[in-house]
Protein backbone atom coordinates (compact mmCIF):
# COMPACT_ATOMS: atom_id res chain seq x y z
CA UNK A 1 0.00 0.00 0.00
CA UNK A 2 1.84 3.09 -1.16
CA UNK A 3 -0.59 5.97 -1.12
CA UNK A 4 -3.70 7.25 0.62
CA UNK A 5 -5.96 6.64 -2.34
CA UNK A 6 -5.09 2.93 -2.48
CA UNK A 7 -5.41 2.66 1.31
CA UNK A 8 -8.87 4.23 1.17
CA UNK A 9 -9.87 1.83 -1.61
CA UNK A 10 -8.83 -1.10 0.58
CA UNK A 11 -10.77 0.28 3.56
CA UNK A 12 -13.88 0.68 1.36
CA UNK A 13 -13.41 -2.85 0.08
CA UNK A 14 -13.34 -4.21 3.67
CA UNK A 15 -16.47 -2.26 4.57
CA UNK A 16 -18.32 -3.58 1.52
CA UNK A 17 -17.15 -7.10 2.28
CA UNK A 18 -18.59 -6.98 5.81
CA UNK A 19 -21.91 -5.63 4.60
CA UNK A 20 -22.17 -8.37 1.98
CA UNK A 21 -21.05 -11.00 4.49
CA UNK A 22 -23.81 -9.87 6.81
CA UNK A 23 -26.38 -10.26 4.04
CA UNK A 24 -25.07 -13.69 3.04
CA UNK A 25 -25.16 -14.90 6.63
CA UNK A 26 -28.69 -13.56 7.10
CA UNK A 27 -29.84 -15.35 3.93
CA UNK A 28 -28.11 -18.54 5.12
CA UNK A 29 -26.12 -18.70 1.87
CA UNK A 30 -22.87 -18.83 3.79
CA UNK A 31 -22.21 -20.44 7.13
CA UNK A 32 -19.17 -19.42 9.15
CA UNK A 33 -17.95 -20.79 12.43
CA UNK A 34 -17.79 -18.21 15.21
CA UNK A 35 -13.98 -18.42 15.47
CA UNK A 36 -13.65 -18.04 11.67
CA UNK A 37 -15.83 -14.94 11.76
CA UNK A 38 -13.87 -13.54 14.69
CA UNK A 39 -10.57 -14.20 12.90
CA UNK A 40 -11.77 -12.23 9.85
CA UNK A 41 -13.08 -9.36 12.00
CA UNK A 42 -9.88 -9.23 14.04
CA UNK A 43 -7.69 -9.29 10.91
CA UNK A 44 -9.67 -6.48 9.31
CA UNK A 45 -9.76 -4.42 12.51
CA UNK A 46 -5.99 -4.60 12.75
CA UNK A 47 -5.56 -3.74 9.09
CA UNK A 48 -7.93 -0.78 9.36
CA UNK A 49 -6.09 0.47 12.44
CA UNK A 50 -2.81 0.33 10.54
CA UNK A 51 -4.30 2.09 7.52
CA UNK A 52 -5.88 4.76 9.73
CA UNK A 53 -2.62 5.32 11.55
CA UNK A 54 -0.52 5.56 8.40
CA UNK A 55 -2.88 7.15 5.88
CA UNK A 56 -5.70 8.56 8.02
CA UNK A 57 -8.31 6.65 5.98
CA UNK A 58 -12.05 6.97 6.63
CA UNK A 59 -13.61 3.81 8.03
CA UNK A 60 -17.26 4.91 8.04
CA UNK A 61 -19.66 6.91 5.85
CA UNK A 62 -19.87 9.61 8.50
CA UNK A 63 -16.08 9.95 8.56
CA UNK A 64 -16.04 10.13 4.78
CA UNK A 65 -18.55 12.96 4.78
CA UNK A 66 -16.50 14.84 7.35
CA UNK A 67 -13.32 14.26 5.33
CA UNK A 68 -15.00 15.64 2.25
CA UNK A 69 -16.01 18.71 4.26
CA UNK A 70 -12.43 19.09 5.48
CA UNK A 71 -11.09 18.81 1.94
CA UNK A 72 -13.46 21.50 0.70
CA UNK A 73 -12.67 23.73 3.70
CA UNK A 74 -8.94 23.20 3.16
CA UNK A 75 -9.25 24.04 -0.56
CA UNK A 76 -11.27 27.21 0.04
CA UNK A 77 -9.06 28.12 3.00
CA UNK A 78 -5.89 27.77 0.92
CA UNK A 79 -7.22 29.97 -1.88
CA UNK A 80 -8.63 32.56 0.52
CA UNK A 81 -5.44 32.63 2.58
CA UNK A 82 -3.34 33.13 -0.56
CA UNK A 83 -5.61 36.02 -1.67
CA UNK A 84 -5.52 37.44 1.84
CA UNK A 85 -1.70 37.52 1.84
CA UNK A 86 -1.71 39.42 -1.45
CA UNK A 87 -4.19 42.02 -0.27
CA UNK A 88 -2.58 42.33 3.16
CA UNK A 89 0.74 43.21 1.56
CA UNK A 90 -0.86 45.63 -0.90
CA UNK A 91 -2.70 47.33 1.95
CA UNK A 92 0.42 48.11 3.98
CA UNK A 93 3.53 47.90 1.78
CA UNK A 94 3.53 51.63 1.07
CA UNK A 95 4.20 52.33 4.76
CA UNK A 96 7.43 50.31 4.81
CA UNK A 97 10.87 51.36 3.64
CA UNK A 98 12.50 49.38 0.83
CA UNK A 99 14.75 47.26 3.12
CA UNK A 100 11.73 46.29 5.25
CA UNK A 101 9.68 45.44 2.14
CA UNK A 102 12.48 43.27 0.76
CA UNK A 103 13.03 41.51 4.11
CA UNK A 104 9.32 40.74 4.43
CA UNK A 105 9.05 39.47 0.88
CA UNK A 106 12.16 37.28 1.04
CA UNK A 107 11.43 35.84 4.47
CA UNK A 108 7.68 35.14 4.04
CA UNK A 109 7.99 32.06 1.76
CA UNK A 110 10.93 30.72 3.80
CA UNK A 111 9.08 31.11 7.11
CA UNK A 112 5.87 29.58 5.80
CA UNK A 113 7.91 26.71 4.34
CA UNK A 114 9.45 26.06 7.77
CA UNK A 115 6.03 26.28 9.39
CA UNK A 116 4.64 23.81 6.87
CA UNK A 117 7.37 21.34 7.76
CA UNK A 118 6.77 21.73 11.53
CA UNK A 119 3.01 21.23 11.13
CA UNK A 120 3.47 18.23 8.82
CA UNK A 121 5.55 16.52 11.51
CA UNK A 122 2.86 16.96 14.16
CA UNK A 123 -0.35 16.38 12.28
CA UNK A 124 -1.32 13.09 10.63
CA UNK A 125 -4.22 14.26 8.45
CA UNK A 126 -2.01 16.65 6.45
CA UNK A 127 -4.80 19.19 5.88
CA UNK A 128 -3.05 22.01 7.71
CA UNK A 129 0.33 21.25 6.16
CA UNK A 130 -1.27 21.34 2.71
CA UNK A 131 -2.96 24.63 3.49
CA UNK A 132 0.31 26.13 4.71
CA UNK A 133 2.21 24.87 1.68
CA UNK A 134 -0.30 26.72 -0.51
CA UNK A 135 0.35 29.80 1.56
CA UNK A 136 4.10 29.41 1.05
CA UNK A 137 3.56 29.13 -2.70
CA UNK A 138 1.43 32.30 -2.68
CA UNK A 139 4.14 34.09 -0.68
CA UNK A 140 6.74 33.11 -3.29
CA UNK A 141 4.54 34.40 -6.13
CA UNK A 142 4.07 37.64 -4.18
CA UNK A 143 7.82 37.75 -3.49
CA UNK A 144 8.84 37.84 -7.15
CA UNK A 145 5.93 39.99 -8.33
CA UNK A 146 6.52 42.66 -5.70
CA UNK A 147 10.31 42.72 -6.06
CA UNK A 148 9.62 43.36 -9.74
CA UNK A 149 7.38 46.31 -8.86
CA UNK A 150 9.62 47.76 -6.15
CA UNK A 151 12.74 47.77 -8.34
CA UNK A 152 10.98 48.40 -11.69
CA UNK A 153 12.30 45.17 -13.18
CA UNK A 154 11.35 44.19 -16.72
CA UNK A 155 8.90 41.30 -16.42
CA UNK A 156 10.24 37.91 -17.50
CA UNK A 157 8.82 34.47 -18.23
CA UNK A 158 11.58 32.98 -16.05
CA UNK A 159 9.43 33.79 -13.01
CA UNK A 160 6.94 31.19 -14.30
CA UNK A 161 9.70 28.57 -14.29
CA UNK A 162 10.68 29.43 -10.70
CA UNK A 163 7.02 29.17 -9.58
CA UNK A 164 6.59 25.90 -11.46
CA UNK A 165 9.64 24.32 -9.83
CA UNK A 166 8.60 25.52 -6.36
CA UNK A 167 5.05 24.27 -6.95
CA UNK A 168 6.29 20.82 -8.02
CA UNK A 169 8.66 20.55 -5.05
CA UNK A 170 5.95 21.50 -2.55
CA UNK A 171 3.34 19.28 -4.24
CA UNK A 172 5.62 16.22 -4.01
CA UNK A 173 6.86 17.07 -0.51
CA UNK A 174 3.37 17.42 0.99
CA UNK A 175 1.22 15.47 -1.50
CA UNK A 176 -0.85 18.51 -2.62
CA UNK A 177 -2.81 18.13 -5.84
CA UNK A 178 -3.84 21.79 -6.05
CA UNK A 179 -0.19 22.82 -6.04
CA UNK A 180 0.58 20.22 -8.67
CA UNK A 181 -2.10 21.76 -10.88
CA UNK A 182 -0.66 25.24 -10.35
CA UNK A 183 2.86 24.04 -11.08
CA UNK A 184 1.65 22.37 -14.30
CA UNK A 185 -0.04 25.60 -15.43
CA UNK A 186 3.06 27.67 -14.63
CA UNK A 187 5.30 25.21 -16.47
CA UNK A 188 2.98 25.13 -19.49
CA UNK A 189 2.95 28.94 -19.51
CA UNK A 190 6.74 29.03 -19.37
CA UNK A 191 7.28 26.49 -22.18
CA UNK A 192 4.67 28.17 -24.39
CA UNK A 193 6.17 31.61 -23.73
CA UNK A 194 9.70 30.35 -24.42
CA UNK A 195 8.67 28.68 -27.67
CA UNK A 196 6.90 31.93 -28.59
CA UNK A 197 9.98 34.06 -27.96
CA UNK A 198 12.04 31.78 -30.23
CA UNK A 199 9.66 32.73 -33.02
CA UNK A 200 10.11 36.43 -32.26
CA UNK A 201 7.06 37.02 -30.07
CA UNK A 202 7.12 38.98 -26.79
CA UNK A 203 6.47 36.44 -24.03
CA UNK A 204 3.43 38.20 -22.57
CA UNK A 205 1.54 37.63 -25.83
CA UNK A 206 1.72 33.88 -25.33
CA UNK A 207 -2.06 33.62 -25.73
CA UNK A 208 -1.89 34.98 -29.28
CA UNK A 209 -0.35 31.74 -30.56
CA UNK A 210 -2.33 28.85 -29.02
CA UNK A 211 -0.23 26.24 -30.88
CA UNK A 212 2.65 27.00 -28.51
CA UNK A 213 0.72 25.10 -25.84
CA UNK A 214 0.75 21.79 -27.75
CA UNK A 215 4.28 20.87 -26.74
CA UNK A 216 3.72 21.38 -22.97
CA UNK A 217 0.31 19.65 -23.25
CA UNK A 218 1.78 16.48 -24.78
CA UNK A 219 4.75 16.51 -22.39
CA UNK A 220 2.50 16.86 -19.35
CA UNK A 221 0.14 14.11 -20.53
CA UNK A 222 3.17 11.85 -21.00
CA UNK A 223 4.61 12.37 -17.47
CA UNK A 224 2.62 9.61 -15.66
CA UNK A 225 3.47 7.17 -18.47
CA UNK A 226 7.17 7.84 -18.05
CA UNK A 227 7.28 8.09 -14.26
CA UNK A 228 4.96 6.09 -12.04
CA UNK A 229 3.52 8.26 -9.28
CA UNK A 230 2.43 5.37 -7.06
CA UNK A 231 3.30 7.11 -3.80
CA UNK A 232 1.16 10.16 -4.57
CA UNK A 233 -2.61 10.06 -4.46
CA UNK A 234 -4.40 11.38 -7.52
CA UNK A 235 -1.34 12.86 -9.25
CA UNK A 236 -1.69 10.75 -12.40
CA UNK A 237 -5.22 11.99 -13.20
CA UNK A 238 -4.12 15.60 -12.61
CA UNK A 239 -1.32 15.25 -15.18
CA UNK A 240 -3.65 13.59 -17.67
CA UNK A 241 -6.53 16.05 -17.26
CA UNK A 242 -4.28 19.12 -17.51
CA UNK A 243 -2.48 17.60 -20.49
CA UNK A 244 -5.88 17.24 -22.20
CA UNK A 245 -7.06 20.74 -21.21
CA UNK A 246 -3.87 22.36 -22.44
CA UNK A 247 -4.26 20.60 -25.78
CA UNK A 248 -7.99 20.93 -26.42
CA UNK A 249 -8.53 24.54 -25.31
CA UNK A 250 -6.02 25.80 -27.92
CA UNK A 251 -7.63 23.48 -30.50
CA UNK A 252 -11.05 24.92 -29.60
CA UNK A 253 -9.73 28.47 -29.98
CA UNK A 254 -8.04 27.72 -33.32
CA UNK A 255 -11.10 25.94 -34.65
CA UNK A 256 -12.88 29.30 -34.35
CA UNK A 257 -9.99 31.74 -34.87
CA UNK A 258 -7.57 30.55 -37.54
CA UNK A 259 -5.62 33.82 -37.41
CA UNK A 260 -3.76 32.57 -34.32
CA UNK A 261 -2.18 29.67 -36.19
CA UNK A 262 1.34 29.20 -37.54
CA UNK A 263 0.03 27.03 -40.38
CA UNK A 264 0.61 28.44 -43.89
CA UNK A 265 -2.99 27.94 -45.02
CA UNK A 266 -6.08 30.01 -45.54
CA UNK A 267 -7.93 30.78 -42.26
CA UNK A 268 -11.02 28.78 -43.29
CA UNK A 269 -8.85 25.73 -43.95
CA UNK A 270 -7.03 26.17 -40.62
CA UNK A 271 -10.32 26.41 -38.73
CA UNK A 272 -11.71 23.37 -40.55
CA UNK A 273 -8.53 21.45 -39.81
CA UNK A 274 -8.70 22.20 -36.10
CA UNK A 275 -12.39 21.32 -35.97
CA UNK A 276 -11.45 17.95 -37.39
CA UNK A 277 -8.59 17.64 -34.89
CA UNK A 278 -11.04 18.52 -32.12
CA UNK A 279 -13.61 15.87 -33.09
CA UNK A 280 -11.17 13.11 -33.92
CA UNK A 281 -8.93 13.95 -30.96
CA UNK A 282 -11.70 14.01 -28.36
CA UNK A 283 -13.24 10.80 -29.76
CA UNK A 284 -9.78 9.19 -29.68
CA UNK A 285 -9.34 10.39 -26.12
CA UNK A 286 -12.61 8.73 -25.08
CA UNK A 287 -11.46 5.48 -26.71
CA UNK A 288 -8.05 5.69 -25.03
CA UNK A 289 -9.66 6.43 -21.66
CA UNK A 290 -12.00 3.43 -21.95
CA UNK A 291 -9.16 1.15 -23.00
CA UNK A 292 -6.77 2.23 -20.24
CA UNK A 293 -9.59 2.68 -17.67
CA UNK A 294 -8.77 6.36 -17.17
CA UNK A 295 -12.15 7.75 -16.12
CA UNK A 296 -10.94 11.33 -15.98
CA UNK A 297 -9.70 11.08 -19.59
CA UNK A 298 -13.06 9.68 -20.73
CA UNK A 299 -14.89 12.52 -19.00
CA UNK A 300 -12.58 15.21 -20.43
CA UNK A 301 -12.88 13.70 -23.91
CA UNK A 302 -16.66 13.63 -23.54
CA UNK A 303 -16.82 17.23 -22.43
CA UNK A 304 -14.70 18.45 -25.35
CA UNK A 305 -16.54 16.33 -27.91
CA UNK A 306 -19.83 17.86 -26.81
CA UNK A 307 -18.27 21.34 -26.74
CA UNK A 308 -16.95 20.98 -30.29
CA UNK A 309 -20.29 19.65 -31.44
CA UNK A 310 -22.34 22.45 -29.88
CA UNK A 311 -19.91 25.11 -31.11
CA UNK A 312 -20.36 23.77 -34.60
CA UNK A 313 -24.16 23.77 -34.22
CA UNK A 314 -23.97 27.37 -33.11
CA UNK A 315 -21.87 28.25 -36.17
CA UNK A 316 -24.22 26.51 -38.57
CA UNK A 317 -27.67 27.25 -37.24
CA UNK A 318 -27.80 30.12 -34.70
CA UNK A 319 -28.30 32.76 -37.41
CA UNK A 320 -30.61 30.83 -39.70
CA UNK A 321 -32.83 28.92 -37.29
CA UNK A 322 -35.57 30.22 -35.02
CA UNK A 323 -34.41 29.98 -31.39
CA UNK A 324 -36.96 27.30 -30.43
CA UNK A 325 -35.76 25.09 -33.25
CA UNK A 326 -32.10 25.63 -32.42
CA UNK A 327 -32.61 24.59 -28.79
CA UNK A 328 -34.80 21.69 -29.89
CA UNK A 329 -31.94 20.43 -32.07
CA UNK A 330 -29.55 20.77 -29.10
CA UNK A 331 -32.01 18.86 -26.89
CA UNK A 332 -32.48 16.11 -29.50
CA UNK A 333 -28.72 15.81 -29.92
CA UNK A 334 -28.33 15.46 -26.15
CA UNK A 335 -30.95 12.69 -26.19
CA UNK A 336 -29.09 11.00 -29.03
CA UNK A 337 -25.81 11.21 -27.08
CA UNK A 338 -27.58 9.76 -24.02
CA UNK A 339 -28.83 6.90 -26.13
CA UNK A 340 -25.33 6.24 -27.54
CA UNK A 341 -23.68 6.37 -24.10
CA UNK A 342 -26.33 3.99 -22.74
CA UNK A 343 -25.59 1.51 -25.53
CA UNK A 344 -21.83 1.79 -24.93
CA UNK A 345 -22.40 1.24 -21.20
CA UNK A 346 -24.57 -1.79 -21.82
CA UNK A 347 -21.99 -3.18 -24.22
CA UNK A 348 -19.25 -2.72 -21.58
CA UNK A 349 -21.40 -4.40 -18.92
CA UNK A 350 -22.01 -7.40 -21.20
CA UNK A 351 -18.32 -7.62 -22.01
CA UNK A 352 -17.33 -7.47 -18.34
CA UNK A 353 -19.95 -10.17 -17.59
CA UNK A 354 -18.53 -12.32 -20.40
CA UNK A 355 -14.98 -11.89 -19.14
CA UNK A 356 -15.97 -13.08 -15.70
Amino acid sequence: MDNKQNAQQRADQIKAFHEELKALLAAHVLLLEEDQRKAIVSYHDNLLKKLTHRFDVDTSTHQKQLSMGMKIASFIGALALAASVFFLFYQFWGYFTTPVQVSLLVSAPLLTLGLTWVVSQRETTGYFAKLLSMLSFACFVLNLVMLGQIFNITSSDKALLAWAVYGFLLAYAFDVRLLLAMAILALAGFIAARVGTWSGMYWLYVGERPENFFLPAISIFYVPLAWRQARYSGFNPIYRVFGCLLFFFPVLILSNWGYGSFLPWDTDIIEGFYQLVGFVGSAGLIALGIRRQWNEVVNTGNAFFVLFLYTKFFDWWWEIMPRYLFFLVIALTSLLLLFIYKRVRLHNQLQEGGNE
Binding site: T97, L113, N152, I153, T154, V165, Y166, T267, I270
Partner: protein, 279 residues
Amino acid sequence: MNKLLLACAGLLVLANVVVLSGVIYNRADEPLNSLNLTERELPVQSVNVSNNENSGMHLKLRWLVLQGPDEPRRFYSGYGNPGWLDERKLVELGLDVDKLKQTRQKYPAFSPPKTVEVILVLEYQGEAYRQDVARTERALKKLQQQEKSMPDLDIGKKIQSYTKQLQRMKLSQSRLYVIDAGQHVVSLQQKYPDRHKYLFARGEISAGWKKDHLYGHVRRLYIPQVHVPLPDSQQLVDITKGKKYYSYGAKPIAPRYRVKLNIGLRLEPWIETIAAQSN
Protein backbone atom coordinates in the same frame (compact mmCIF):
# COMPACT_ATOMS: atom_id res chain seq x y z
CA MET B 1 10.75 14.71 2.09
CA ASN B 2 13.72 16.40 3.74
CA LYS B 3 15.58 16.52 0.43
CA LEU B 4 12.57 18.13 -1.23
CA LEU B 5 12.32 20.69 1.57
CA LEU B 6 15.98 21.54 1.23
CA ALA B 7 15.49 21.95 -2.50
CA CYS B 8 12.52 24.27 -1.78
CA ALA B 9 14.59 26.44 0.56
CA GLY B 10 17.49 26.44 -1.92
CA LEU B 11 15.22 27.54 -4.73
CA LEU B 12 13.76 30.40 -2.66
CA VAL B 13 17.22 31.66 -1.76
CA LEU B 14 18.55 31.28 -5.31
CA ALA B 15 15.60 33.08 -6.92
CA ASN B 16 15.97 36.05 -4.57
CA VAL B 17 19.74 36.18 -5.03
CA VAL B 18 19.30 36.27 -8.82
CA VAL B 19 16.67 39.02 -8.67
CA LEU B 20 18.53 41.21 -6.18
CA SER B 21 21.86 40.76 -7.99
CA GLY B 22 20.16 42.07 -11.12
CA VAL B 23 18.98 45.13 -9.17
CA ILE B 24 22.47 45.77 -7.78
CA TYR B 25 24.02 45.40 -11.24
CA ASN B 26 21.47 47.81 -12.74
CA ARG B 27 22.41 50.51 -10.25
CA ALA B 28 26.10 49.64 -9.91
CA ASP B 29 27.64 52.10 -12.32
CA GLU B 30 26.86 55.63 -13.44
CA PRO B 31 23.30 55.69 -14.83
CA LEU B 32 22.93 55.52 -18.60
CA ASN B 33 20.47 58.42 -18.45
CA SER B 34 19.64 60.83 -15.66
CA LEU B 35 16.82 63.26 -16.36
CA ASN B 36 15.05 65.92 -14.35
CA LEU B 37 11.42 65.33 -15.26
CA THR B 38 8.28 66.87 -13.80
CA GLU B 39 4.73 65.91 -12.94
CA ARG B 40 3.95 66.47 -16.63
CA GLU B 41 5.99 63.42 -17.59
CA LEU B 42 5.49 61.44 -14.38
CA PRO B 43 2.02 61.99 -12.89
CA VAL B 44 0.96 59.94 -9.88
CA GLN B 45 -0.53 56.72 -11.15
CA SER B 46 -4.02 55.74 -10.10
CA VAL B 47 -4.05 52.72 -7.80
CA ASN B 48 -4.63 49.43 -9.58
CA VAL B 49 -6.32 47.55 -6.74
CA SER B 50 -9.71 48.85 -5.61
CA ASN B 51 -9.55 52.23 -3.89
CA ASN B 52 -7.56 52.57 -0.65
CA GLU B 53 -6.42 48.97 -0.76
CA ASN B 54 -3.03 49.68 -2.29
CA SER B 55 -0.76 51.85 -0.20
CA GLY B 56 2.05 51.73 -2.77
CA MET B 57 2.74 54.64 -5.10
CA HIS B 58 3.76 54.67 -8.74
CA LEU B 59 4.45 57.38 -11.26
CA LYS B 60 3.21 56.75 -14.78
CA LEU B 61 5.72 57.53 -17.51
CA ARG B 62 3.80 59.58 -20.06
CA TRP B 63 5.20 59.77 -23.56
CA LEU B 64 4.08 60.81 -27.01
CA VAL B 65 5.08 60.46 -30.60
CA LEU B 66 5.38 63.18 -33.20
CA GLN B 67 3.09 62.02 -35.94
CA GLY B 68 3.96 62.31 -39.61
CA PRO B 69 2.92 65.66 -41.20
CA ASP B 70 0.11 64.01 -43.19
CA GLU B 71 -1.38 62.15 -40.23
CA PRO B 72 -4.68 63.33 -38.74
CA ARG B 73 -4.13 65.11 -35.42
CA ARG B 74 -4.40 62.89 -32.36
CA PHE B 75 -4.09 64.61 -29.03
CA TYR B 76 -2.71 63.12 -25.79
CA SER B 77 -1.72 59.77 -27.15
CA GLY B 78 1.26 57.72 -28.18
CA TYR B 79 -0.88 55.65 -30.55
CA GLY B 80 -0.17 57.68 -33.66
CA ASN B 81 2.28 56.68 -36.35
CA PRO B 82 5.59 58.40 -35.82
CA GLY B 83 6.99 59.92 -39.00
CA TRP B 84 10.43 58.37 -38.44
CA LEU B 85 9.06 54.82 -38.14
CA ASP B 86 8.81 54.14 -41.88
CA GLU B 87 9.33 50.92 -43.83
CA ARG B 88 13.11 51.41 -43.99
CA LYS B 89 13.30 51.84 -40.23
CA LEU B 90 11.11 48.75 -39.63
CA VAL B 91 13.52 46.70 -41.76
CA GLU B 92 16.48 48.16 -39.85
CA LEU B 93 14.87 47.12 -36.57
CA GLY B 94 14.59 43.54 -37.73
CA LEU B 95 11.07 43.11 -39.10
CA ASP B 96 10.92 40.87 -42.14
CA VAL B 97 8.92 43.32 -44.23
CA ASP B 98 9.21 41.33 -47.49
CA LYS B 99 7.78 38.24 -45.86
CA LEU B 100 5.04 40.31 -44.24
CA LYS B 101 4.05 41.61 -47.66
CA GLN B 102 4.16 38.16 -49.28
CA THR B 103 2.15 36.36 -46.62
CA ARG B 104 -0.36 39.17 -46.31
CA GLN B 105 -1.49 38.58 -49.88
CA LYS B 106 -1.37 34.77 -49.76
CA TYR B 107 -2.35 33.79 -46.24
CA PRO B 108 -3.44 36.61 -43.94
CA ALA B 109 -3.28 34.30 -40.94
CA PHE B 110 0.19 32.99 -41.53
CA SER B 111 2.56 35.83 -41.05
CA PRO B 112 5.85 36.36 -39.30
CA PRO B 113 5.73 38.37 -36.06
CA LYS B 114 4.55 41.89 -36.63
CA THR B 115 6.21 43.14 -33.49
CA VAL B 116 9.82 43.60 -32.49
CA GLU B 117 11.50 44.26 -29.15
CA VAL B 118 13.61 47.40 -29.30
CA ILE B 119 15.29 50.04 -27.20
CA LEU B 120 13.28 53.21 -27.57
CA VAL B 121 14.84 56.67 -27.38
CA LEU B 122 12.69 59.28 -25.65
CA GLU B 123 13.66 62.90 -26.05
CA TYR B 124 12.85 65.33 -23.26
CA GLN B 125 11.80 68.87 -24.12
CA GLY B 126 13.58 68.74 -27.47
CA GLU B 127 12.98 69.29 -31.14
CA ALA B 128 10.04 66.88 -31.35
CA TYR B 129 8.19 68.75 -28.60
CA ARG B 130 8.90 72.11 -30.18
CA GLN B 131 7.75 70.87 -33.60
CA ASP B 132 4.54 69.51 -32.13
CA VAL B 133 3.75 72.83 -30.41
CA ALA B 134 4.60 74.76 -33.58
CA ARG B 135 2.40 72.47 -35.67
CA THR B 136 -0.55 72.92 -33.33
CA GLU B 137 -0.02 76.70 -33.33
CA ARG B 138 0.01 76.74 -37.12
CA ALA B 139 -3.10 74.59 -37.29
CA LEU B 140 -4.89 76.89 -34.84
CA LYS B 141 -3.85 79.97 -36.75
CA LYS B 142 -5.10 78.46 -39.98
CA LEU B 143 -8.44 77.65 -38.39
CA GLN B 144 -8.76 81.18 -37.01
CA GLN B 145 -8.00 82.63 -40.46
CA GLN B 146 -10.57 80.32 -42.01
CA GLU B 147 -13.17 81.47 -39.49
CA LYS B 148 -12.42 85.08 -40.31
CA SER B 149 -12.55 84.62 -44.07
CA MET B 150 -15.57 82.30 -44.00
CA PRO B 151 -17.78 83.23 -41.01
CA ASP B 152 -20.44 80.73 -42.11
CA LEU B 153 -18.04 77.84 -41.49
CA ASP B 154 -18.93 76.15 -38.21
CA ILE B 155 -15.45 75.56 -36.78
CA GLY B 156 -15.85 77.28 -33.41
CA LYS B 157 -15.68 74.01 -31.47
CA LYS B 158 -12.61 72.89 -33.37
CA ILE B 159 -10.86 76.16 -32.61
CA GLN B 160 -11.79 75.81 -28.94
CA SER B 161 -10.40 72.28 -28.89
CA TYR B 162 -7.11 73.36 -30.49
CA THR B 163 -6.79 76.31 -28.11
CA LYS B 164 -7.24 74.02 -25.11
CA GLN B 165 -4.78 71.55 -26.55
CA LEU B 166 -2.17 74.24 -27.10
CA GLN B 167 -2.61 75.40 -23.51
CA ARG B 168 -2.13 71.82 -22.28
CA MET B 169 0.92 71.31 -24.45
CA LYS B 170 2.55 74.37 -22.97
CA LEU B 171 1.52 73.85 -19.37
CA SER B 172 0.73 70.29 -18.37
CA GLN B 173 1.25 67.74 -21.13
CA SER B 174 4.30 65.48 -21.24
CA ARG B 175 7.33 66.70 -23.18
CA LEU B 176 8.78 63.23 -23.62
CA TYR B 177 8.66 62.12 -27.24
CA VAL B 178 9.76 58.78 -28.66
CA ILE B 179 12.07 59.87 -31.45
CA ASP B 180 14.05 56.78 -32.40
CA ALA B 181 14.61 53.11 -31.72
CA GLY B 182 17.47 50.68 -32.03
CA GLN B 183 18.78 47.31 -30.99
CA HIS B 184 22.02 48.22 -29.24
CA VAL B 185 22.55 50.53 -26.30
CA VAL B 186 26.11 51.42 -27.25
CA SER B 187 25.23 52.67 -30.72
CA LEU B 188 22.28 54.63 -29.31
CA GLN B 189 24.57 56.18 -26.69
CA GLN B 190 26.90 57.32 -29.45
CA LYS B 191 24.02 58.76 -31.43
CA TYR B 192 22.39 60.42 -28.41
CA PRO B 193 25.23 61.26 -26.02
CA ASP B 194 23.37 63.83 -23.87
CA ARG B 195 22.28 61.63 -20.96
CA HIS B 196 20.28 64.45 -19.37
CA LYS B 197 18.10 64.90 -22.43
CA TYR B 198 17.50 61.39 -23.75
CA LEU B 199 16.01 58.40 -22.00
CA PHE B 200 16.41 54.79 -23.15
CA ALA B 201 13.66 52.30 -22.44
CA ARG B 202 12.88 48.78 -23.55
CA GLY B 203 9.70 48.55 -25.53
CA GLU B 204 7.95 47.15 -28.52
CA ILE B 205 7.27 48.37 -32.01
CA SER B 206 4.64 46.86 -34.23
CA ALA B 207 3.80 47.00 -37.89
CA GLY B 208 0.35 47.35 -39.37
CA TRP B 209 -1.34 47.95 -42.66
CA LYS B 210 -3.24 50.92 -43.96
CA LYS B 211 -4.60 49.55 -47.21
CA ASP B 212 -1.37 48.49 -48.94
CA HIS B 213 0.88 50.80 -47.00
CA LEU B 214 2.96 49.40 -44.15
CA TYR B 215 3.29 51.60 -41.09
CA GLY B 216 4.81 51.23 -37.64
CA HIS B 217 3.80 52.37 -34.22
CA VAL B 218 5.21 52.24 -30.72
CA ARG B 219 3.14 49.55 -29.06
CA ARG B 220 4.31 49.97 -25.51
CA LEU B 221 7.11 50.52 -23.03
CA TYR B 222 7.91 47.39 -21.02
CA ILE B 223 8.21 49.40 -17.81
CA PRO B 224 5.34 51.87 -18.04
CA GLN B 225 5.48 53.09 -14.44
CA VAL B 226 8.07 53.75 -11.76
CA HIS B 227 7.71 52.79 -8.11
CA VAL B 228 8.11 55.58 -5.54
CA PRO B 229 9.72 54.28 -2.35
CA LEU B 230 9.62 55.85 1.11
CA PRO B 231 10.52 58.60 2.03
CA ASP B 232 9.95 60.01 -1.49
CA SER B 233 6.36 58.81 -1.55
CA GLN B 234 5.61 60.67 1.68
CA GLN B 235 7.23 63.80 0.28
CA LEU B 236 5.11 63.48 -2.84
CA VAL B 237 1.96 63.24 -0.74
CA ASP B 238 3.01 66.39 1.13
CA ILE B 239 3.69 68.28 -2.12
CA THR B 240 0.52 67.21 -3.90
CA LYS B 241 -1.58 67.13 -0.72
CA GLY B 242 -2.80 63.73 -1.86
CA LYS B 243 -4.55 65.15 -4.93
CA LYS B 244 -3.78 63.32 -8.15
CA TYR B 245 -3.68 65.24 -11.35
CA TYR B 246 -4.26 63.84 -14.80
CA SER B 247 -3.23 65.70 -17.90
CA TYR B 248 -6.51 64.54 -19.45
CA GLY B 249 -8.31 66.60 -16.79
CA ALA B 250 -10.45 69.53 -17.80
CA LYS B 251 -8.30 72.28 -16.35
CA PRO B 252 -4.56 72.00 -16.89
CA ILE B 253 -2.32 72.90 -13.98
CA ALA B 254 1.39 73.62 -13.79
CA PRO B 255 3.58 70.73 -12.53
CA ARG B 256 3.93 70.63 -8.75
CA TYR B 257 7.04 68.48 -8.43
CA ARG B 258 10.17 67.43 -10.27
CA VAL B 259 11.71 63.98 -10.29
CA LYS B 260 15.27 62.95 -10.96
CA LEU B 261 14.89 59.69 -12.87
CA ASN B 262 17.85 57.42 -13.57
CA ILE B 263 18.11 54.60 -16.08
CA GLY B 264 20.52 51.82 -15.10
CA LEU B 265 22.67 49.34 -16.98
CA ARG B 266 19.74 46.96 -17.49
CA LEU B 267 17.60 49.86 -18.73
CA GLU B 268 15.54 49.71 -15.56
CA PRO B 269 14.59 53.05 -14.02
CA TRP B 270 14.65 54.31 -10.44
CA ILE B 271 13.89 57.57 -8.74
CA GLU B 272 16.83 59.39 -7.20
CA THR B 273 15.11 62.45 -5.77
CA ILE B 274 11.76 64.18 -5.72
CA ALA B 275 11.39 67.89 -4.94
CA ALA B 276 8.71 70.56 -5.10
CA GLN B 277 8.63 72.49 -8.36
CA SER B 278 8.73 76.25 -8.06
CA ASN B 279 6.59 77.69 -10.86
